[in-house]
C-alpha cells in the first residue's frame, strides 16, 4: 500500500494523480494542522499524500507572456520577495500567519484549502486572477471565482493539480487591503477586504471590491460595482444606500469562535463605505 509519494517531476505527479485518489501536499501548513493528533503520533491521511511542494515545475514567478504566472507551490514568503507580485496581494500575504508558516505555506495550498477566510483570495478576486489546472490529459484555465465552489470545495478534479495562478498585467492607481484579524499578527481573519479602482477626470472608470470570510465564498458584487462605474465620484455618497442593498444579500457571515455574524456584516459594510467615500481623496 502506498501511503505517500514524492514525485521528481510534474509528469510523475500527474501520473500518480491519475492512478487513484490522493491528497496533494505542498507546504502542509493546513493539512497537518487539521490532522493534528496526540503529540508523538503521526497524522493520518485518508488517501496517499502526494508531496508536490518541491516540484520544480510548480515554483517561480514569471511574466513571460505579459501575464504574471505564479507557480502553485511558490511559498508565501517568495511572493513577498518578488517585485512583480501586485502590491495588493503582497499586502495580504504580509499579514498572513507568521514568518515560519509563510516560509512553508504556498499560494496554491491557500487556494485549494478553500477556507472562506483564505487571505490570498480577496486580492486575487479583485485582480481577476485565474488558475491553471493540469492533468495527464491536458490543461485548463478557470477564473478564480469558478475554481472556488464553497468552504473546502474547489473545481479541482481528482486527477488534476493546481499548477499556477495567473494574474492579468494591469496596474491600478488605487488599491486598498484591510485584514480584520483577531490580533495584529499570526491571526486568522474575522473578515478581510481588498479593492482596486481607477479614477479618470473625476469619474470612476474601474472598481473591484472583494471581501473574505463574510460568506461561504469570497464576495464580489459586479452589480454593485456597475452601480458606480463611469459615474462622478461626487455621486457616490448619494448612491450608498443602493450599494449597501446590493451587498446586503451577498453578506452571509456566520457566528463562530472568532467573531459574530453581526460584527462581520457591519464591519464589511463599514470598510466598503470607507473605501468608496475615500476615493475622492486618492490621487
Amino acid at each position: 500500500m502506498v501511503t505517500a509519494f514524492t514525485p521528481r517531476t510534474l509528469v510523475e505527479a500527474l501520473r500518480f494523480r491519475d492512478a487513484g485518489p490522493s491528497i496533494p501536499f505542498a507546504g502542509g501548513t493546513d493539512l497537518m494542522v487539521r490532522r493534528k493528533r496526540w503529540s508523538g503520533t503521526t497524522p493520518r491521511f485518508e488517501q496517499p499524500a502526494l508531496f508536490i511542494g518541491g516540484l520544480p515545475e510548480l515554483q517561480g514567478i514569471t511574466t513571460g507572456d505579459g501575464v504574471l504566472t505564479i507557480g502553485a507551490a511558490t511559498t508565501l514568503t517568495a511572493l513577498l520577495e518578488d517585485g512583480n507580485v501586485p502590491a495588493l496581494l503582497q499586502q495580504a500575504v504580509a499579514q498572513m500567519a507568521s514568518p515560519a508558516i509563510r516560509n512553508g505555506g504556498t499560494l496554491g495550498g491557500n487556494l485549494c484549502n478553500a477556507s472562506p477566510a483564505a487571505d490570498t483570495m480577496p486580492p486575487l478576486y479583485a485582480l481577476d486572477a485565474a488558475v491553471v489546472l493540469q492533468s495527464a490529459a491536458g490543461t485548463r484555465e478557470l477564473p478564480i471565482e469558478e475554481f472556488i465552489q464553497g468552504p473546502g470545495r474547489t473545481a479541482l478534479a481528482g486527477n488534476e493539480l493546481l499548477v499556477a495562478v495567473r494574474i492579468p498585467p494591469r496596474q491600478f492607481k488605487i488599491s486598498a487591503y484591510r485584514k480584520v484579524g483577531t490580533r495584529k499578527a499570526d491571526a486568522l481573519s474575522k473578515l478581510s477586504f481588498a479593492a482596486v479602482a481607477e479614477v479618470d477626470d473625476g469619474k470612476l472608470t474601474e472598481l473591484r471590491i472583494a471581501l473574505g470570510a463574510v460568506a461561504p465564498r469570497v464576495v464580489r458584487s459586479r452589480a454593485a460595482e456597475e452601480l458606480l462605474l463611469d459615474r462622478p465620484l461626487r455621486q457616490i455618497a448619494d448612491r450608498l444606500p443602493e450599494i449597501q442593498a446590493a451587498y446586503a444579500e451577498l453578506l452571509r457571515p456566520i457566528d463562530d469562535q472568532r467573531s459574530s455574524a453581526a460584527y462581520r456584516r457591519t464591519v464589511a459594510w463599514n470598510l466598503i463605505r470607507d473605501f468608496l467615500l475615500g476615493l475622492h481623496l486618492k490621487p
Partner: protein
C-alpha cells in the same frame, strides 16, 4: 533610590534554557515508561450507567476509580472533586479513566473502543441557570460553594441618607493561563514509595494530596518539581489531580507513567480565571463624597469547589480598591455550574474586583460631573486608614508619588484634555487605574495553615544550599532567593545553590503563590542566613532552620472577615492610551505607563520582566482573550482560537519603581508577581470608555462588544 540588592544579575537558569539543556517534564523518559491518556466526559451533567471497555492487549491497562487506594477526592480545601468520576459526571472534560500503555497509537485505539452509557441530567450552565430553582442543584441546597457577607460602618443608614445613589453591573470573562509548557506529571512507584515529578508550583500541595489519595504515610510519598515552563497560578491546584491519577497508574502497572497534556486538552479541561458578575452601589453625600458602597460579587466556580472560596474572598477584600470608604457591605458567592472548574490565576480574584471598582468610580465621577482622577484621589486611603475589612494600612501609602510618576511618563492630564476635544475622526482615549495587591496569604493563613519552614545547609566546602519548597516557574525565584542569601552572608552568588525542590530534601516553606515567596520565604531565608553567618567560622557542615513567626500586629478574624486581610500591600498605577478604529472597532494600544511600589526590588531586571509580562497578560485579559462556554463546552480550544497578544500586539511599556522598603520583607521587598497584572485591564477599559464617551462594563473589550456599545450608544 538604588539598593545594592536591586542591581540585576544574570538569572541562574539563563544558560540551560538558552542552550536547550533544561529538562522539562516531557524530556524525562525513564526505562519502561508508559503513556497515559484520559477518557473524559462528553456530557455536562449525566449519570454514568455503564462503561464498556474492549479486551485490552497485553501490557495495556485501564486505571479508574477502583484503582484509588485511599480516598478518591483531590485534597484542596474541601474534598469534593474525584480523581476519576464515580457514578456521575459534572462537566464536559471530567476525567473518567486513564488508558495506560507503551504505544500511543494503541492507547488511542483502545480509547476509541470504550463506550460510556450516560443518562443525561439537566445541566446548570450559567450563573442564571444556577439561580433557577427548577434545576436540581449541583452543590448543597442553593448551588453556592461559598457564600460570604461582611460589612463595616453604617451602610443602610448611609444609603437612606444619600443625596445620590449610583449603581452599575460589571462582568468579566474567562482567562486561560497559556503557560508555555502544558500540565504534566511523571509518576514512579519503587520499593513501596511513590514519586511524582511534575511541572508544578506547590510540591507540598501535591504531596499532601497524594498522602490522602493513597492513604499512605508521608515518608512513602515524594514530589519533585521539574523545570517548569510557566504557571501563573494554573499549576497551583490542578497538578494534584493529575499527580494522583498518574500515581495510581504507576502503582497498578509497576512502571513509570507519564501523563502529559497536549495544548488543546490543556486549554479545554484545566482551571481558568473565574468569570464574574459584580454589582456595585455607591451612596454619595451632597458634597459628592462617597458615604457607603454595597457590593454583590458572583464568581462562576465551575463544577467543583477547588480554590473558589478563597478566590472569592480576595475579590471581596479588594472590592473597595485603594479607597477609604466610610461604610462598606459586601456579599460574595462562588456559584456551582456544570462547567470546567476554575481556579488560581495570577491576581486570584482581584482583577475582577479592580475592573469593577475602577470602572464604577470613574462612572460615578462622570455622573457627578467631576474629574475621575481627582475624585479617586480624594478618596484614596492613607497610612493609618482602615482597609476594606477594618484592618489598618500600617505602612506608608505612596499612591500620590506613583500617580505623579505615571503622570510624568504618560502626560495623562494633558492627553485627557486633548482627547476630550474630539475632532470626530479619531477615537483616542487614555485611562488610569489605581490598584494594590495584598501580599501573601489571606489573613492568618501563613500562621494557621502554611507554617513555613526553611533550611540553609552549609557544606564543608563553604557552599550553601537553600532548602525550600518554592518553585521557579520562570519568574526568577532560583535567582532572587539566592541573591537574598548571598547578600546576607556576604558570600559570592555562585556559592549559593538552589535546585528544584524535592520534598524528600526540603522542608515545607509553603506554596509558590499569592505573591508570598520573596516576601515571606525570602525573609525567612534572610533570617536563616543571618543565623548561619553568626556561626560561619565554625568548621564543617552546618544546618540552620527558620520557622515563620506571625507579626503580632497583624490581627485577623476569619469568621467575621475583620482585621488585617494581608500583612502588607504592594501598589501600582497604570495609564493606558488607546485609539479605537471607528470602522472596525479594533483597539490599538498606543502605550502603557506604569509605576509600582513593591518595597524594594530584589532584582530590577526581574521586576521589569514581571511588569512587562504582567501588563501584557492584563491587556490580553482586557481585550483579546475571548473564551466562551457554549452548552457546557469551551469554544476556543486551541492557541489558534484562544488569542493572546503577540509581540506585535505588545505596546511600548514604560515603568518605574518607587522605593518604599517594607521592614518585614527581605531587604525591604514586598510581593510583585500578581500586582503587575491587576491594573492593565481596568486602565485599558477606562481608556476605551474615554475614547468612545461611554462606560465599558464588560471584559474583554472586544470589537464585537464595542460595536454593540457604539451602535446602541451605551453599555449592555
Amino acid at each position: 533610590m538604588s539598593h545594592e540588592i536591586s542591581r540585576p544579575v544574570a538569572k541562574i537558569d539563563n544558560r540551560e534554557k538558552l542552550a536547550g539543556d533544561a529538562q522539562y517534564l516531557g524530556d524525562l523518559h525513564p526505562q519502561g515508561m508508559l503513556y497515559a491518556k484520559t477518557l473524559r466526559s462528553v456530557k455536562a451533567r449525566a449519570v454514568i450507567r455503564a462503561i464498556t471497555v474492549p479486551p485490552l492487549p497485553e501490557g495495556y491497562f485501564i486505571v479508574d476509580r477502583h484503582d484509588v487506594p485511599g480516598k478518591n477526592r483531590v485534597k484542596i480545601l474541601s474534598d469534593d472533586q474525584p480523581f476519576f468520576a464515580e457514578d456521575r459526571v459534572n462537566y464536559i472534560g471530567e476525567p473518567i479513566l486513564l488508558v495506560v500503555g507503551p504505544e500511543k497509537e494503541r492507547i488511542l485505539a483502545i480509547l476509541d473502543g470504550i463506550r460510556v452509557d450516560y443518562e443525561d441530567l439537566p445541566p446548570i450552565l450559567t450563573l442564571a441557570d444556577a439561580e433557577r430553582s427548577q434545576l436540581p442543584p449541583l452543590f448543597g441546597a442553593d448551588n453556592y460553594f461559598a457564600e460570604y457577607h461582611f460589612s463595616r460602618g453604617q451602610v443602610d443608614e448611609a444609603f437612606s441618607r444619600a443625596a445620590r445613589v449610583i449603581e452599575g453591573e460589571y462582568q468579566t470573562g474567562y482567562q486561560e493561563h497559556v503557560y508555555l509548557e502544558p500540565q504534566g506529571v511523571l509518576a514512579v512507584h519503587e520499593a513501596g514509595k511513590i514519586t511524582v515529578y511534575g511541572s508544578i508550583q506547590c510540591p507540598y500541595y501535591v504531596k499532601n494530596a497524594l498522602i490522602q489519595a493513597f492513604g499512605w504515610d508521608g515518608d512513602r510519598v515524594r514530589v519533585v518539581q521539574t523545570t517548569t515552563g510557566g504557571g501563573f497560578g494554573g499549576k497551583e491546584d490542578y497538578p494534584s489531580l493529575i499527580a494522583g491519577q498518574a500515581g495510581f497508574a504507576a502503582l497498578k502497572t509497576g512502571r513509570p507513567v507519564q501523563l502529559l497534556f497536549d495544548r488543546a486538552e490543556d486549554i479545554e479541561v484545566t482551571t481558568k480565571r473565574h468569570p464574574s458578575a459584580i454589582r456595585l452601589r455607591t451612596a454619595l453625600d451632597g458634597t459628592g463624597r462617597i458615604t457607603a458602597m454595597e457590593a454583590d460579587i458572583r464568581l462562576n466556580a465551575g463544577a467543583y469547589a477547588g480554590l473558589s472560596a478563597v478566590v472569592l474572598q480576595r475579590s471581596m477584600f479588594n472590592i473597595a480598591g485603594v479607597y477609604q470608604l466610610p461604610a462598606l457591605k459586601v456579599r460574595g458567592r462562588a456559584v456551582a455550574t456544570n462547567t470546567v472548574p476554575n481556579g488560581a490565576f495570577r491576581g486570584f480574584g482581584s482583577p475582577q474586583a479592580f475592573f469593577a471598582v475602577e470602572t464604577h468610580l470613574d462612572e460615578v465621577a462622570r455622573e457627578l460631573g467631576v474629574d475621575p482622577l481627582e475624585f479617586k484621589i480624594k478618596h484614596m486611603a492613607k497610612q493609618g486608614d482602615w482597609t476594606a475589612t477594618g484592618g489598618t494600612y500600617q505602612q506608608e501609602i505612596k499612591l500620590p508619588e506613583l500617580i505623579a510618576e505615571v503622570e510624568e511618563l504618560s502626560g495623562y492630564r494633558r492627553k485627557t484634555a486633548d482627547f476630550a476635544r474630539r475632532d470626530g475622526a479619531r477615537l483616542q482615549g487614555i485611562g488610569m487605574a489605581l490598584f494594590l495587591h495584598g501580599c501573601g496569604f489571606t489573613g492568618s493563613g501563613e500562621r494557621d495553615h502554611i507554617k513555613a519552614r526553611v533550611k540553609l545547609h552549609k557544606r564543608a566546602d563553604g557552599q550553601v544550599e537553600v532548602l525550600a519548597a518554592n518553585a521557579d516557574m520562570g519568574q526568577g525565584l532560583r535567582t532572587t532567593l539566592r541573591k537574598i542569601v548571598a547578600q546576607t552572608l556576604e558570600r559570592p552568588l555562585e556559592t549559593i545553590i538552589y535546585d528544584n525542590p524535592d520534598t524528600d530534601r526540603v522542608p515545607d516553606s509553603g506554596p509558590t503563590v499569592a505573591s508570598r515567596t520573596v516576601m515571606i520565604v525570602g525573609k525567612l531565608l534572610e533570617e536563616a542566613a543571618r543565623k548561619l553567618k553568626a556561626v560561619w567560622d565554625q568548621p564543617g557542615e552546618q544546618e540552620v532552620v527558620k520557622d515563620y513567626e506571625h507579626p503580632a500586629n497583624i490581627v485577623w478574624d476569619n469568621d467575621t472577615f475583620s482585621g488585617d486581610a494581608y500583612p502588607a500591600y504592594s501598589w501600582g498605577v497604570n495609564a493606558v492610551e488607546v485609539e479605537v478604529d471607528p470602522s472596525t472597532y479594533q483597539i490599538d494600544v498606543k502605550g502603557v505607563w506604569s509605576a509600582f511600589d513593591v518595597g524594594v526590588a530584589i532584582d530590577e531586571r526581574i521586576i521589569r520582566g514581571q511588569v512587562e509580562g504582567g501588563v501584557l497578560q492584563g491587556l490580553g485579559y482586557g481585550s483579546l482573550e475571548v473564551m466562551e462556554c457554549r452548552d457546557g463546552r469551551i469554544q476556543q480550544r486551541s492557541v489558534t482560537d484562544y488569542i493572546i497578544p503577540t509581540a506585535l500586539d505588545c505596546p511600548r511599556i514604560e515603568s518605574r519603581l518607587i522605593d518604599n522598603p517594607y521592614e518585614r520583607g527581605p531587604f525591604g521587598a514586598k510581593g510583585a508577581g500578581e500586582l503587575t497584572l491587576v491594573g492593565a485591564a481596568p486602565a485599558l477599559a477606562l481608556a476605551v470608555g474615554n475614547a468612545l464617551g461611554v462606560p465599558i462594563r464588560r471584559l474583554p473589550v472586544t470589537p464585537e462588544y464595542l460595536m454593540e456599545v457604539m451602535e446602541h450608544g451605551g453599555a449592555d
